[in-house]
Every structure is written in structure tokens, then in C-alpha cells.
Symmetry: C2
Subunit: 892 residues, 2 copies
């Protein structure tokens, strides 16, 4: 006896579009799938949608998916309600599909699902158990003596159908069910009563009786799925994402296995390996006697338990898992239904996993020869590396959150509050762990920041001064914690709840989450687990892009080297001047009236800076070190408050008026575009002479100790080759004087930042005077977009929300604008000077997307903060692998 | 009997370089010239130098130049002292040259002069009368009974030779001569005595007797000329000008006519037309019986007087003048010597002339068919037009200068001093002429500035706010008058001399000279004289570049139209908001909490702005008007001083704290790169809606009065097409609403400024959303060079002095950097949208060099301040003519 079929063959429909019937009669409009059968052609995702393509793939591989049909994207193009001819073909196709378990007493019921070509929120959720009728329910209850099973099928159909077709909220049905299920053992009557109450809800909303006709259920579900393409959520999402309006949607009608038909049946969500640790072996839960999801059931056991309770199903699942890993060449998550001793695969996707699990899985799979090293590297999210490189708050700790802000720089930090740079410096020097709490930070806070455990500000965004400097220093940092208010005079921090904290109170920051906690919480130290070390060693085999560090101190240099940096790409000399022991000389220099008194003040800085360079050169022995000449405008070195100005006046033997006058003289409307960068050394060549002497005397000293040094002197903010010509001449003269006096010589190179658009435009001419380029993408982005990094927080969120910008251009390189300048500059620079070395420093050097651009644009190296070196090494390897794959693909 | 020759044939020289003798024996190493004879080949200026080429040209034309030789640039290449072979050839060549007047009793004496290929200061001045000896002096004195004539020849030779060869200052000889000439009638003995005392000075400095040998005089003079190429002045100049170090110098040895041989002889400097008025007819002075310059003699008569005193010479000079005008196709200045009834032409160059003379000469010469209209247009310096368009101080007035500053905007202005915008507005509205005196101006002063006669500031440079705004308004302006100090509280201005001026005192500014005078001086009203009007009409026939005006008010628009503007290229709407009657609504808008209250405040501004647009559209009927949407950051509209903030708080019913808070909220580190331009309308679309309504309601109103309007709505500071997409949608919706309500429609276009480098880089994509481009080169220059216009004055002068920049990039467009972006944007914009209209607004639109670039880069129009429209029309015509000539040249 052939298995029973539910008839979808009624004709009580309005035929909307006969004219299109021919088009829809094409055999490719409906694709049938069942294990081992797959008759689709062309690009599966474009034709079948994501879900359709996945089912098709599983079916083709012979895996036990319930059979079904896919109504293709082309078949549905331009269709508002299903044309009669197409619907007839659907009906005919479904006629051939049996219930999954093939039991003759039970006809196949079906689910209708949307299958968009790319994910679109707001589409119709699945309608389940289409084909269920009163007559069938009665018969099933009689036959199986299981009122629950029969009516549960209705219990899924009516709410999902009502939501899809009439927009009735599922909560109405849930509320109804909650009032009904009061007794422990529900009877057939009770279940039947609930179903009829569900139908009552339908009728109450639609004014029509519940459609007990399977063909009507199917047709209305399919039309509702089509209509959901234009739901407000879907339309808004597509508009924001810049997606085309034309529909790219296939529909799947698939037979439903019954996990609820007996107690041995059930549903499960499993992963082929442990998603937390990466260990091999099935992980997941099995819920028995249900058609719903695992997490909606209360009768859940670990899937491994099936080995005892249902060894046949367990063996089948293990086999499916192995097949899926071979098919996907990865660990996978999948759902299955066990029905009457058979196992049906519902879906499959690459497994979700923690960063550490990802690394371990990748390494294991290379050993298992499931994938090669290149693919293993592509499986790791570079950002996950930085998460592991910071201390974390012990998850077991008791926490009291007092505020949240932007997670500006990851890591956990505990310390007592300090409200000014001076206080932070004093107390930190006495060994107290300090969290610097400020409304916002400024350049003069930088030295204090470097001795603190973490930074907390109440204003500013991800690209504010505090955020940028903290990331460079790998200091945990939370910015814009707007719920807090800081009173710098009273030295208090008030929480939104009114709690007042002072200098004797501790707080703990979770820089990765942006959460501020009261008190001192226990933390877990950072570690780079072995699988990551293995992966990074592989990464170095693949990458062609160099990875250098932004490091300003010997300590930074040591960290960078330990993390595998190929050199220092940006050593900022100004941070050395902000040191409290040194800033007085800098201030003397700025307040000097003559070139001679300026030179005298600089002479005091020379030995200090030379010692810094000796430390850095020693830490980086054998590797190149790029040193940027003084960059910030001079006013950043002078105190702003009257108290500090008064103190400086007293120290210098000047009047407050004189200090103020100089501060006013140095005031600029737009300091970013002002008297800074190489403009300073052109006005005050004695600064250049001092810095070149410090660099080369340090290099000579190292050389005398047989330490190999490769100094690269870098000019900031150049916009014309004549600036470089002028500065190079002085540099070379100074170098000759140093070498003569030191009786030795060191090779060094002289190059320039490319951070002004004009420099990029005229790179051909500039390369004649510069031996290397380094793209300073922070400033280049500011100037190319006319966008101040410090001020953008006022409107950038709006730009991102309105979809005008896809990314924050200070985090991810604007490849179409800024990238165009970089490509042009590298190309024309190298035409003028073959082999010209081009690096990139700035925040983008630690951003994976930007690193990929650098690889493609043939930049020689990126320079990132020491803590992002591992990330950059991995991202560079990924870029190389993807680039090579692209090349091979294009050859085919 | 052949004319006597001085023998240069001695051989008492050290021969330095025999080896090169062959090379220097080439016949082209020495070029001979005499009237009608010219044997040079190749490019005259490169081979013969400037002076050599000019003499060669005159000789070729058969004009009566004294004969001579030119030792060519190639002949002297790499030579330090003259090789013997070359010197022998020089001697031989000179042997054939007779004294100019050809009188046998007088041998030829010679001058040695430098002839560089391009002007170089610091080269050897001419050595005169080489060949003069004691024996010759005695003989000449005897023969001519003229001790003065004979010894005057020595009197020129010894000082010029001594200066050139031994570096002896000419003042030593002048002092000696001054002590000697005490009697009225000098005797032969006295003259001979002075010569021997001159020789004594030589001997005293060199320790050698005076060289009485013509060959020695010649050789040493030539060597000194060669050596002068490396004089410190010449070296420094060439380095600064970026000229090559290799010598590009020819030497001229030319016979000297004797203007001092008798009382009818003499020298004259003349112009073929009046250099002040341009009237036809010889103008200049004749000095009789002298060999020196006209202005060193006290016996000077107008050259016209020769007609009576020496009619033959007069006729000869007239004939020479006519020949020279034909040869040079221009009015010329020339010097001649009359010697014994014959006239010798010494030199010739296009005449120096006043602007008005230039215009008259050009028009006359077209009528005379000496030149065509195109050439006439090329003869006029466009800058001269603006000088004529401003009132000038009556040159006859008695003046007391109290300070000087930078001449920021030309014209004369008198008025009483006002020290604040408020006071200036109040008093000006009562009819008082006001000079606004400020340390520096800011945006909130703009309305006050527009009602003043002139602006005076004590700080800032040519590109400071005051300077830029004043030029736009064609207001006389002096900035950085550092000798003055302003006390805004006491309302006084103190001069360097200690004089204190207050609100009741008048001053007069000469904006073209940068001079500040005490009191009210009489002025002369501006006029555009007829020849200029003729020339501008011709200019319009030639130019292809449109010339529009930057005009913000109906009055500006009227002036622009009167000066021949083709439309308005930049109408800034924000200046309308600074008006004291309106700013309160703007402030309400900024201080509003909700979009609704913002809209309510904007509703109050709408009718005011609409009326402005009606006025502007009416003034420009039939011509396009480009209106830029609100551009400056909002904080510019809020008061800065506590007093003003307090007043605003009272007016608005807010606390001072609330006002302050908003001011702080709006504070930006780099406002140039901040929340401004189209970013404002993206955050606050209600501003856009109000402005679009005001523009289009005004356009509809004009249309109803049959006034033809062509509004062009322009978005500032865009950097991405999605900004335009967003704003365009709102613009179109608003427009539809206006048209529906007004029952009429007007055509308008929607376009964008290109002032952010990224917009230029992505112009192809931006053109898909913009119907026109306007290059905002002020901001584009700031961003491309990373250079703030407000702050650059601190180091730009140093950059210009050190030759790093050739021009101030805010005055003359940086064609290699910014220009590259403009060309790229215009090309790629037009590829995306064929026929895309591209304009340029900003200061560069009124700069002739930048206008020429715009023509070459195929920009459709420039937009300049109304007062620079005539200049721009002429410069555009010149660019078209030069471009066409270049094209024709390249065809040949």
C-alpha cells in the first residue's frame, strides 16, 4: 500500500496571473531534493537562496534530509501572488513526497520557509505542519493513542500560519495555551479544545473560519512568504544596507519529520567538536518527544547520552557528523530529528566557537588533513587574538556595575581613582595602582596615562584622545561613560545612582565590555595559548607584508619584539618630551627668544633623548627603527591652566604675562592644520639638529657595542619635496659632524610620512628626495575627508546610522578615497625611485580589513601598536592567502 | 686714410688654457654685429644672452647700434679665465671695428658688459672706455681742444674698471672728484690731475701701476665679468630661484659713441609714447655733452626740444622710434647717443607704462594696425584693473602717516573709529562713516564690516579673516598694523608715537599702500576709463571661461552685474544670518532641544531669507545664481564673551549656565574639520528644508512677476555621494511641496562644492548625484596642503623666503597639487555625467594665474568678488588667447 498523501489538489483559488503561467512552467522553476537527489543547475545560492542551497548541498551529499522542493528565485521574479500554473506544479511536485519516516499511516506534513539569497531580517518565519486537518487529527489520535502528538501538530501550525498570513501575534496563542494547561495529564478532549480555541483566535482576527483545506494553507503560506519581502523591517534593512529592491527570494516546502511521535523520538542541536574548548567529540543536547527546539523543552539530555538510550540513533548521528565535517571541511553545528528510529538532518552550518576553540579546531583539522595550513589561518578572526592578550575579569567574581561607556581599549584594570595627571604621577610613583578619571584627556596627560592601570573618561568616543592613546599603550580604557560625573576640583566621581567615589576608592574597568565596576575585582592574566602560537608561526610562512610596531619607549620595543614585530615603524619622539623631568627644557626652548637660547635648551634634551634611542636600538638590535621627528604644535607643551602657567613663570623667572603672551601667540584656530610637523623644523632647524644628533650619536654608541642598528629618520607632514630638500641638507651636515666626532659611521635612511593629500599626489617628486614613505593614515584620513578625529564623534554616529559611511574611517581605512591616494603614491613613488619602501603607520595598521588593503596595494609593511602585532601577523597572512587564491581563481 | 685703431695686440699675458684653444676657435664663438650685419645662429637669448640678443636684433633690423662683438655662452662654458686662443680671436675681431662716428682722428673705445641668458643680480656692471691711454688722452685733448672730453673718458674707465677688476668702491672716486671740482672752468691740468689721482686710488688698492695697455684693460675686464657669475649675490640669488649653477653668460664688447665730444652731442632716454597717459609722441629727456646717463647730468632738456636745437638728430630719433615700434610691435623705451651729428641707438625695451597708459596704447595700436585685439589684450596686466576700481587718496593731499600694515584690500577710506561691531552698526546706521578698528575680526563682525568704510586690524596677515572678507566686499582694509595698539575696553587706538585716538577721531586708510593716516584726507572717485571698457568688450569676444560673482546680497549682485558678471557662482547664505535682526532666531534654533523647536525658530528666518533671495534673483534676472547651503559650524553664531552670553540668556529665558553648556558642547578642536557644511543639514534636515523653501518660494515669486530665475542649490563640504543622495531626496520632497502650494514650478539644479580631497578623488561617483560641481579652492587648498588659512601666517612667510613655496597657495592656486585634484575631478565627473558644469569659487577665482589654470583645465567658469570681475574677464581672455596660440604653435 503506498504511503498516504494529503491532497493539495483543490482549486478554490483566484488565479492572479495566467499570462505568466508559461514562464513558470519551466522545469527549473521547481527544484526537488531528497537524499542523493539534486536537480538544480547554476549558482545554488542565487537560484535557491541560502537555505535552499544548504539543503540542496546536504541532499546532493546523500545526507538524510527530509525531502522537499525549492521554488527558485527566477520562478518568483516579479510575482506578487503565486500564479495558478506555478501553484499547480508545486502541488504536483509535493504529491510525490512521502512523510520522512515513510510510515503509511502518517501522511507528509510540510513546512514553508523563506530562502533569501542573502540574509534579510523581517522575512516570514517558518510555517510548520501544513496539511494538518481536523480529520487527520482525529485519525492520528485514534491510530496512535497519542492525543498530544496529533494536536501538537496543530499547535505548531495554527500560530505559525496565523502569524505569517494574518499577522496575529504568537503570544496570543501562548497566553491561551498557558490558561489551558493546568492539569498534569491533558486528555484528547482538552487538546482538541485548545486547538479549537486556537482556531477561535484565528476567526476572531480574520472574521473567517480556520482553513481546514491543505491547499489553502499551502497557498496562503507561500503568498505570505512572498509578501514578507516587503515587510517594513525588511525594506528598512535593505535600504540601509544598500541592497537592491528586486526580490532575491526562493521558497522551500519541505516534509517535516515528527520528533514528537513517541518518547524515543526527539530533536537535537549538536556541534561536532566542543565549541568552548575545541576538543573533538559530539557536543550538544537532545530533547525527547518534541517537535520544537531543544531550548523550548524541559526534557533535555546531553546528546552523548543517546549512546546508551538510543545507540542506533547515536551511531547515525556520529556518521552524519563525520560526513558533514568532510563536506564542510570544518567543525559544524547541526540540528537533527530522530523519528521512530530514523535520524533526519534539518540543517548544518560551520560551528560557532570561542576564539580558543577556533584555534584548537584549526590546528587539529590541519593534523587530521581535513584542511591545510592556509585554510586553518583563514578560519581565525584576527580580532580574537587581541582579546586574549589582555587580562580579563575573573568571570566568577561578584560584580557591581556602576556605569557603562564605550569599550575603547580592551583588558581589565583595577586601581584607585586619580583625577589629575599630577596626582596620578605622584601616587603611581609610590606604587599605588591608579585609574585616571577625567572628563577627557589631553596631550599633557600622556605621561601620566602611561603609568596608570587604566583610563576612564566621561566624554569622547572611540576615536577620542584617551581612546587612541590608550589603545597605543594597550591600556584598558573606557570613554564616554556618560552616567558618571567627575568633579575635578573636589576630586570626586558621582555615579548615576548618586554614589560618590573619591581618591581612596577603587574601581575595576572591563575595557572590552565598556563596564565600570565598584571595588577591586580579581583578574585573569593574559596568555597566548599554544594553538595560537602554532598558527602565528604558520602565518609568518605565508605573509609577505611586514609587521612593525608603533613603539616610543624601550619597554614598548621589547614587547613588540616579543610579539614578533619585524621592526619599529613609528617611534614618536614627542612623547619623550612630555616626561615631567624633561618638559621644562622643552618649555625653555619654546619660550626662548633666540636661536641660541633655543639651542641651549635643546642641548639639555639631547642626552636624555639619546639614551632613549640607545634603549630602543638595543631592544630592536638587527631590525629597522623608524623615528619620526617632532610633530605636535608647540603649544601642546605649554601649561593651560593659570596655576600651571604661574608655576612655570616662577620656575623660568618670567612674568605670568610673558607666559600668557607666548601661549596666545601659539594659539591656533585649527592646530591640526597649523604650525606642526616638519614646519617646526623648517622654522627652527636647531630642533632638527638636536634630534638628528640624538639619533645618530645613539646609533654610533650602539655600533661601538656591536649592536646592529638601522635608524630611519622620518619627516612628518611634508607636502612638498623642497621641504625635504631643505631638511635633508641639514640632516646630512649634522650627520657628517656626528660621524667625524664619533670616528665611526652608521648607515641610516631619510624618508617621509605621506599624511598630507598633496604629498600623496606629488609622491613622484617627493620620492626623489625621500628614501622611504610611511603612510600616516590618521592624518591622511582627517585631511582627505576633511574630518577631525577629535570632533567627529558629534556626527559620525549619525553618519553610520544613516548608512552614509559604512565604517568609522578612523578604524577601517577608507579604501576608495584614502586608499586611492595610497595606491597612487606608492605607484608614482616607485616609478621615481624603484624599490622605494612604503609602510603604513597609524591606527589602521592594526585593523584586519585595512591590513588586507595594504597587502593588495603592495605596501611593504604595516606598523601597529605592540599589542596588535599578533593580530596583524595573522591578518597579513590571511591577505596573502586570499590574494593568492584570487590569483589562482583568475587563472582558471 | 683708414680710421685709427687702438691696438689690443700685446702678448704679455699668461696663457692659462692652451688645451681648450681648439674648441674656442670655432667661428660661432664670437658673433659680430653692426647695423645691418648679424651672423648669429640658433636661439639668440640662449647663445648671446639677453643684452646680446637685443643688440643682435637691433643690428639685424639695420638700426644704428654701435658695432661690437658677442662672446657666446657656449664659447665661455667651463672657462674660468679666457683661453689665449679665444682672446686672440677677440682681439682680431675688435681690430675691424671702427669708432662709431667713424672719425679717423678718434679710435674706437669699448665697453665690456655681461649678457646673462636670464636676469641675475650681482653680475659685473659695465666697464666703459676700454682702450683709453695716456697717450691717447693727450692727443685727443690737443686735437679737440677739449680737456673735459678726453679726461672724462678716463673718468668713466678708471672707476668702472677698478670696481670690476679690483672691487674698489666707486664712491672712493666720487669723493675724490668732489674734492677736486671746486672751480667753475676746469683746465686740462686739473682734469689730468684728477685722472692721475684716480690712478693713484687704483695703485693704492692693488699695489700695481694703472694698466695703460688696452689689451690688459680688455682681458682683465672680460675675466672679471666671467668671475662675477660666482659673486655671493649672484650665487645666493640663483640658489633661491632654483636656477642651475652652470654658467649661462655671454659677454658683449661694443664700441662706445661719445656723447660728450661737443655741446651738440649728448645722450637721451626716451619713450615713443607718453608712459603716463599713453598719448602718442616722443617723450623723454636729452642731456647734452655727456657720456653719462640722463639723470646724472644737470644740463637736461625735453627730447622734443631737439626739434629746434638739432632738427637732424630729432628727425633721426623719430625715424628710429617708428622703426622700433614696428620691430617690437609696441611702444618702446630706448636710449640714444647723438655724436657729432649722428644718432646711435644704445638699447631698447618695451616701454614701462602706467595702467591707464597701457590701456590707451593698446587701443591705439590696434587702431594703427600695429597689433591685433588679441595682442592688445595680452599687453594689459589684469591686476591693474582692480587698482582703478577703488577710490584713491588725492596725491595732492597733505598726509600724516601714523602706521603701516599689510595692504589687504585696496582703495581709500575715511571715517571715524569704532572698536566693536555693535558700535559700528549703531553709528553707521546714523549715517556716520566708520572705520572698524579691531585686533582681529571674526565671523560675527561680518555684518558690521559691510556697513563700514574700511577695516583696520593690528594682527593677522593677507589671508586673515578681515583681509579675506574685506576683499570680498571690496572694502579698503589694512591688517597687521603692528605699530598700533587697540584697547577695545577703553575704545582707544594708540600709535607708535604715543598719540591716542578715540571714537571721535578720523583716520584715512590707503588700502593699496597699507598706510594709515591721521584725519580725513580728500579722495578721488573710481572710474573705469574708456580704453578699459573697450578692452573688456574685446575680452568678452575672446574668452570661453565664464566669469561669475561671489555675491551674498542684492547690492553685491547689482555691482557684479554692472561689472559684467555672467551670474552668481557663490551666494553664501550664512552671512544673511549674522544680521543683528536675524541672529536671535538662529541662536534660538541652535539652543533648541527638539527638531520641532528648531523648526519653529527656522520658520522665523524663512521669510527674511526668502526676501533676500527675491532681491538677488531680481538683480540677476536671466542669469544663474548658485546658492550654497549653510556652511559654518554653529558655534560661530553664539556669543563668546560672558556679557553677551548673559544678555542672550536673559533674552531667551535661559540661565547663563545653559548657554555656556551649549557653547562648550559646540566647541571643536579643529572647527575647519568639524561639524559644518553638509554635515549640519544631515544632522538637522530641518535647516535644509527651510533653506530649500526660502530659495524656491523666492524663485516662484519671481516667476510670478515674469522674472527669469535659474537657482542652483549647492551642497558644501560633501565627501561622499551618499551625503548628496540623502540631502537630494529631502530637497526634492521639499521642492514638490513648495511647487504644489505655489501652483507653479521652477527649474533648478542640485550640485555640490568639491572642496574636500575625497570628493575630488571620487568625483565620478559624486557626479552621479550632483548636476554641477563648484571647486571651493579655499578649503580644498587647506585640506590638500594640510594648511590652515588662519594659522599659516606664522610660517608661510618663512616658506616663501626659503623658496619652499613659490607663491602663497591661498592667493595663487597650487596647480601641481590642488590643480591635479581639480583636473581629475572635472575629467572623471564629466565621464560619469557628460557636460557636467564645473565652476571654481574662492579667492583663486580672482587671481590671473589661477584663472589661466582654470581655462586650461576646462573649468566652465570662475567666480570672483564683484570688484574683481573686470580683472577676471580680461585674464580669461588672455588665457584663451595664449591657449589658442599654444595650440597653433604646436601645430607648426
Amino acid at each position: 500500500m503506498p504511503p498516504e498523501r494529503v491532497s493539495f489538489e483543490t482549486e478554490n483559488w483566484t488565479v492572479v496571473s495566467r499570462s505568466k503561467s508559461l514562464m513558470h512552467a519551466s522545469p527549473r522553476n521547481i527544484v526537488l531534493f531528497s537524499p542523493g537527489r539534486c536537480d538544480a543547475v547554476g549558482d545554488p545560492e542565487a537560484t535557491l537562496g541560502l537555505k535552499g542551497a544548504a539543503l540542496h548541498k546536504l541532499a546532493c551529499a546523500g545526507l538524510p534530509v527530509p525531502a522537499g522542493i525549492i521554488i527558485t528565485v527566477p520562478a518568483l521574479a516579479g510575482v506578487t501572488t503565486l500564479p495558478a500554473a506555478l501553484f499547480r506544479r508545486i502541488q504536483a511536485a509535493l504529491r510525490d513526497i512521502a512523510s520522512p519516516a515513510g510510515v503509511s499511516e502518517r501522511p507528509a506534513l510540510f513546512a514553508v520557509r523563506c530562502s533569501p539569497a542573502v540574509p534579510v531580517p523581517g522575512l516570514m518565519p517558518a510555517v510548520l505542519n501544513i496539511g494538518m486537518t481536523d480529520a487527520l487529527a482525529r485519525r492520528l489520535a485514534d491510530t496512535f493513542q497519542n492525543p498530544f502528538f496529533a494536536h501538537e501538530l496543530f499547535g505548531w501550525l495554527i500560530p505559525t500560519f496565523s502569524a505569517a498570513v494574518a499577522g496575529i501575534s504568537r503570544s496570543e496563542f501562548e497566553d491561551e495555551a498557558a490558561t489551558a494547561v493546568t492539569q498534569e495529564e491533558p486528555s484528547f478532549e482538552m487538546a482538541a479544545d485548545l486547538v479549537s480555541r486556537f482556531k477561535g483566535i484565528w476567526q476572531q482576527h480574520t472574521g473567517k473560519p480556520w482553513p481546514d483545506d491543505p491547499a489553502v494553507q499551502l497557498r496562503l503560506s507561500l503568498d505570505a512568504a512572498l509578501a514578507s519581502w516587503n515587510s517594513p523591517v525588511a525594506v528598512a534593512y535593505r535600504r540601509k544596507a544598500g541592497m537592491p529592491e528586486h526580490r532575491e527570494l526562493a521558497l522551500v516546502v519541505q516534509a517535516i519529520p515528527f520528533g514528537n511521535c513517541d518518547p524515543a523520538s526527539g530533536v537535537a542541536s549538536v556541534c561536532t567538536r566542543d565549541p568552548t574548548t575545541g576538543e573533538r567529540g559530539l557536543t550538544g543536547d537532545f530533547a525527547s518527544a518534541t517537535q520544537g527546539g531543544v531550548y523550548e523543552s524541559h526534557d533535555v539530555v546531553p546528546v552523548a547520552g543517546l549512546k546508551k538510550s538510543n545507540p542506533a540513533a547515536h551511531a547515525a548521528v556520529l556518521k552524519i557528523g563525520r560526513s558533514l565535517e568532510t563536506l564542510y571541511r570544518d567543525a559544524v553545528d547541526f540540528d537533527f530529528v530522530a523519528e521512530a528510529g530514523r535520524v533526519f538532518l534539518l540543517n548544518c552550518r560551520p560551528a560557532r566557537r570561542t576564539p580558543i576553540a577556533a584555534a584548537r579546531m584549526a590546528c587539529d583539522m590541519v593534523r587530521e588533513k581535513l584542511i591545510d595550513k592556509a585554510e586553518a589561518l583563514l578560519r581565525i578572526d584576527p580580532e580574537s587574538l587581541t582579546q586574549l592578550l589582555h587580562p580579563r575579569i575573573d568571570p566568577a567574581a561578584d560584580k557591581t556595575e556602576i556605569a557603562t561607556g564605550s569599550a575603547a581599549s580592551p583588558g581589565a584594570a583595577c586601581g584607585k581613582l586619580a583625577f589629575s595627571a599630577e596626582e596620578a604621577l605622584t601616587r603611581a610613583s609610590e606604587g599605588e595602582p591608579i585609574i585616571l578619571a577625567r572628563v577627557e584627556t589631553e596631550a599633557s596627560d600622556v605621561v601620566a596615562m602611561s603609568v596608570c592601570e587604566g583610563i576612564l573618561t566621561t566624554s569622547g568616543g572611540m576615536t577620542s584622545h584617551a581612546a587612541v592613546v590608550a589603545r597605543t599603550m594597550a591600556l584598558p580604557c573606557i570613554v564616554g561613560a556618560a552616567g558618571l560625573s567627575i568633579d575635578p576640583v573636589r576630586q570626586t566621581l558621582t555615579t548615576a545612582a548618586g554614589q560618590i567615589l573619591g581618591a581612596t576608592d577603587s574601581v575595576t574597568l572591563d575595557g572590552a565590555a565598556g563596564a565600570v565596576y565598584a571595588g577591586e575585582l580579581p583578574t585573569i592574566e593574559p596568555e597566548l595559548p599554544k594553538p595560537f602560537r602554532t598558527l602565528l608561526a604558520w602565518a609568518d610562512e605565508y605573509r609577505t607584508l611586514g609587521v612593525r610596531a608603533n613603539a616610543d619607549t624601550p619597554r614598548d620595543a621589547e614587547i613588540a619584539r616579543a610579539f614578533g614585530a619585524d621592526g619599529i615603524g613609528l617611534c614618536r619622539t614627542e612623547h619623550m618630551f612630555f616626561d615631567p623631568r624633561r618638559i621644562i627644557h622643552m618649555r625653555r626652548m619654546i619660550l626662548a627668544d633666540t636661536a641660541e637660547s633655543r639651542a641651549a635648551a635643546l642641548d639639555r634634551l639631547l642626552p636624555l633623548q639619546r639614551d632613549d634611542f640607545i634603549g630602543i636600538f638595543t631592544a630592536m638590535a638587527g631590525l629597522p627603527v623608524t623615528i619620526r621627528l617632532l610633530d605636535p604644535p608647540l603649544h601642546e607643551f605649554l601649561p593651560r591652566s593659570e596655576v600651571d602657567q604661574q608655576a612655570l613663570a616662577a620656575e623660568m623667572g618670567l612674568t605670568l604675562e610673558q607666559i600668557r603672551h607666548r601661549v596666545e601667540q601659539l594659539h591656533e584656530s585649527n592646530p591640526m592644520l597649523g604650525h606642526r610637523g616638519c614646519r617646526l623644523c623648517i622654522t627652527y632647524p636647531e630642533i632638527l639638529r638636536m634630534q638628528v644628533r640624538a639619533i645618530l650619536e645613539a646609533a654610533c654608541a650602539c655600533r661601538q657595542h656591536r649592536i646592529k642598528v638601522q635608524p630611519e629618520i622620518m619627516v612628518p607632514l611634508a607636502c612638498d619635496r623642497r621641504e625635504l630638500d631643505y631638511l635633508r641638507q641639514i640632516t646630512m651636515e649634522t650627520a657628517e659632524a656626528v660621524f667625524t666626532k664619533q670616528h665611526t659611521r652608521v648607515d641610516f635612511s631619510f624618508g617621509t610620512m605621506i599624511e598630507v593629500p598633496r604629498a600623496a599626489l606629488l609622491a613622484g617628486s617627493i620620492a626623489e628626495s625621500a628614501e622611504f614613505f610611511s603612510f600616516g593614515t590618521n592624518d591622511l584620513t582627517q585631511l582627505t575627508l576633511g574630518l577631525s578625529r577629535d570632533d567627529a564623534s558629534r556626527f559620525l554616529p549619525d553618519y553610520l546610522a544613516k548608512g552614509i559611511f559604512q565604517n568609522d574611517p578612523f578604524q577601517t581605512l577608507d579604501t576608495s578615497g584614502v586608499g586611492q591616494l595610497i595606491r597612487h603614491a606608492a605607484d608614482s613613488g616607485r616609478r621615481a625611485r624603484p624599490g622605494l619602501k612604503c609602510g603604513l603607520c597609524g591606527e589602521h595598521g592594526g585593523d584586519p580589513q585595512s591590513i588586507r588593503f595594504c597587502h593588495e596595494a603592495k605596501v611593504d609593511y604595516v606598523s601597529a601598536s605592540p599589542w596588535r602585532i599578533p593580530l596583524a601577523r595573522l591578518a597579513a597572512a590571511q591577505a596573502a592567502i586570499i590574494g593568492k587564491q584570487g590569483l589562482e581563481d583568475s587563472k582558471v
